[in-house]
């Protein structure tokens, strides 16, 4: 197979400052660096870097969102470590990231392989993508209709003779239901991205496989996976970032009153519930939780990129 590799850092645009004395063009490029990057950098600093530092500063206080602030040092952080609800929320967040993540990727990849050779694949792709287009609020409105004791599911089950169905919406089952809903909502999205990656693979590789007598597994192992690895990497980073931020689906599924049951909380829900839910106006503690989730995302993304790092394959 004819694949060539090269280091990403060798790409000319990757590092304008990296190469010294590259002639006139490089010089003008360096000169234009500040006027071109400056405004974006200033904007980014204003709307992201500064608020992050302000948040860090708020997280060191006890504060009701307005009025006097009391300096408490790192106490909001030590309280988090001892807060069973927060630790549970952290486990839930990681569960969503790993369990739902694996399910989404396995399903997306499987669907990609099936759809590749299927007739009417464009229609099928749209149908799979559809759940992602629907606002989470619609699921919130539907969940009661479908899963209430006298809802659609139990009515269907009754027809099959199931008289004692499980309590789908019971507090202990709610998180599993949310995980299933997340898989349903997100699989189509990642299928679409991975399919775009698989579609790029030139046909002659498959012909090559057929001539070499490779079976379906070998074709996936030696052609499809290596040639779509960078797409997988991007998807993994996207999922990591969005999974740590999962919020509205839990709120919609669980919060009939001021907050959903704590069994279903993620770090994002914990943050909001601590800062804004009814009786809770602990902005300092909420911000501390937000900072922890920011650190979590950053660490996970860096780790993931390290694990997923491969030489870019050009074809």
């Amino acid at each position: 197979m004819t694949v060539s590799t090269r280091e990403p850092s060798a790409l000319p645009a990757a590092s304008p400052r990296g190469r010294k004395g590259g002639g006139g063009i490089a010089h003008s490029r360096r000169r234009l660096f500040v006027p071109f990057v400056g405004p974006a950098l200033a904007f980014y600093t204003l709307v992201f870097v500064v608020p992050t530092f302000v948040a860090l500063w708020i997280s060191l206080h006890q504060w009701a969102g307005s009025g006097p602030m009391k300096w408490v040092g790192v106490r909001n952080y030590t309280a988090l470590v001892h807060d069973k609800i927060f630790l549970h929320a952290l486990v839930n967040t990681l569960e969503l990231l790993v369990v739902v993540g694996i399910a989404i990727f396995v399903l997306s990849f499987a669907m990609t392989l099936i759809l590749r050779d299927m007739a009417g694949r464009k229609v099928a792709r749209s149908i799979i993508f559809f759940p992602h287009l629907i606002n989470a609020l619609v699921y919130g409105a539907l969940i009661g209709f479908v899963f209430n004791p006298g809802g659609l599911v139990n009515t269907v089950l009754k027809a099959f003779g199931v008289t004692k169905p499980p309590g789908w919406l019971a507090q202990d089952n709610l998180f599993s239901l949310i995980m299933v809903a997340m898989i349903f909502m997100t699989t189509g999205y990642y299928t679409t991205i991975i399919m775009a990656g698989v579609d790029r693979i030139p046909l002659y590789y498959y012909e090559d496989c057929a001539m070499a007598g490779a079976n379906a597994w070998q074709r996936m192992r030696h052609v499809i996976l290596p040639l779509t690895w960078d797409v997988f990497g991007v998807c993994a980073v996207l999922w990591t970032i969005s999974s740590v931020k999962i919020f509205e689906i839990i709120w919609i599924f669980g919060a009939s009153s001021s907050a959903p049951p704590t069994q279903t909380w993620t770090v994002a829900v914990y943050t909001y519930a601590t800062g804004f839910a009814g009786d809770t106006l602990a902005y300092g503690a909420a911000t501390a939780a937000a900072i922890v989730s920011l650190v979590l995302v950053s660490v996970l993304v860096v780790l993931l990129r390290r694990v997923m790092r491969r030489d870019v394959i050009e074809f």
């Binding site: 009701a64 602030m69 069973k84 009661g144 004791p149 001021s258 809770t280």
Partner: protein, 436 residues
Amino acid sequence: MAHRSTKTRTALVSVTTLALALGASACSGSTSDGSSAGGKTFTYWSMWKEGEPQQKVIAAAIADFEKQSGDKVNVQWVGRQNITKLTAALNTHNVPDLVDGSWANTVPALVNTDQALGLSGAFADKTADGETASSVIPEKYTKSVDINLPSGQPWMLPYNVQTDAFWFNAAKYPELKTNPPKTWAEFITLLDKFKSQGVAPIAADGDVAGYNTYWITTLIDRTGGPGTMKTIASDKTGQAWKAPDVLAAAQKLEQLVKGGYFINGYTASKFPYQQTAFANNKAALIMMGSWLPTEAAAYEAPGFIPDSFPFPTTGTADSQRLDLSGFVVPKKAKNTATAQQFAAFFLGKKYQTMWAANGGIPLRTDVSVGASAQSEMTALKGAKTFHQINDGITFTGYATKVLNPADDQLFLGKITPQQFVDTMASTQADYWKSQS
């Protein structure tokens, strides 16, 4: 430190907000002298949304007030998020002059943070009928619900009352109107009767933690009167939960859970599924706030007549729940005098009567209420003592993180009363440790 923090925060406010604030102050001018010469403007962020029956009453009052005083009310129908919105706005110069909310929501945001203005002015101002506001506010209520700042001035001008009760369909069970159960034993007998008739005795939307806590709060306050629950919650060691009376209260709740008195599936449904079941005669009773008739009107069975009786006694304590909602003025507001004049104006009989006609319980006791609220009104008038929602506990995050999770477990039949009090004791001790 606090001063420095405020300065830094203010500096961080976006240019847009500053521009808005400048615009607002330019429009309003500086007219907080209390005179009623007219021509002044104040801003009101309402807890009601456009189209709600309550909003229509306030809108009518605003129209009358503007006509009579010549002042202008710049109103925004924000909805229940108005206090959350206010919390953020308090860090800017764009602060409304008047907000309203429930006692439980305004205390953490405005009173505990020392940002509520003393409203002696409003209490002395005239209602739409010309009498002073303080003369129509029942003293019995303000003695029970603490609406005073440390200075002694009230921080809320209440206009609405909420209570809770057991609701039933008076068309189906007229005997409950004339002869409601008064004691716990009578109550259980009634529930058994419903059960033997094949009717689910009590409907409950178990997914609403706030509703679930009505039971334990009331049962605990029934052991030692109003304030009992708050005293227990204030115990830094959490050991107060281990008192035999508290365990007995939790056991009464377990008696209902284990006795199968709650409607099937109450542990796994989504609000308002069970409330709808109640309004369609699939359960005999529901314990709910005074808003039930208004809320259930949309889906109740034809001929349904909501009526209520108070929570039974388990000993000698017989307090009624009483929660107040009303107007609050932030200290940082600029046009506080006009805002207070409107707050007092709204207590006029006309608006309180309109309020009652919409199914709400007005603050004034000299206004006749709708048919569905009459039993509640009788209970409120006859009550010697009152308790508030969650017994007036406003410790930040206590309900969300300490009480609700453990109470849900007990209410949904996951833990025993003993496990409940043990959990409360230990999580409460942790809670207070984290707050110290």
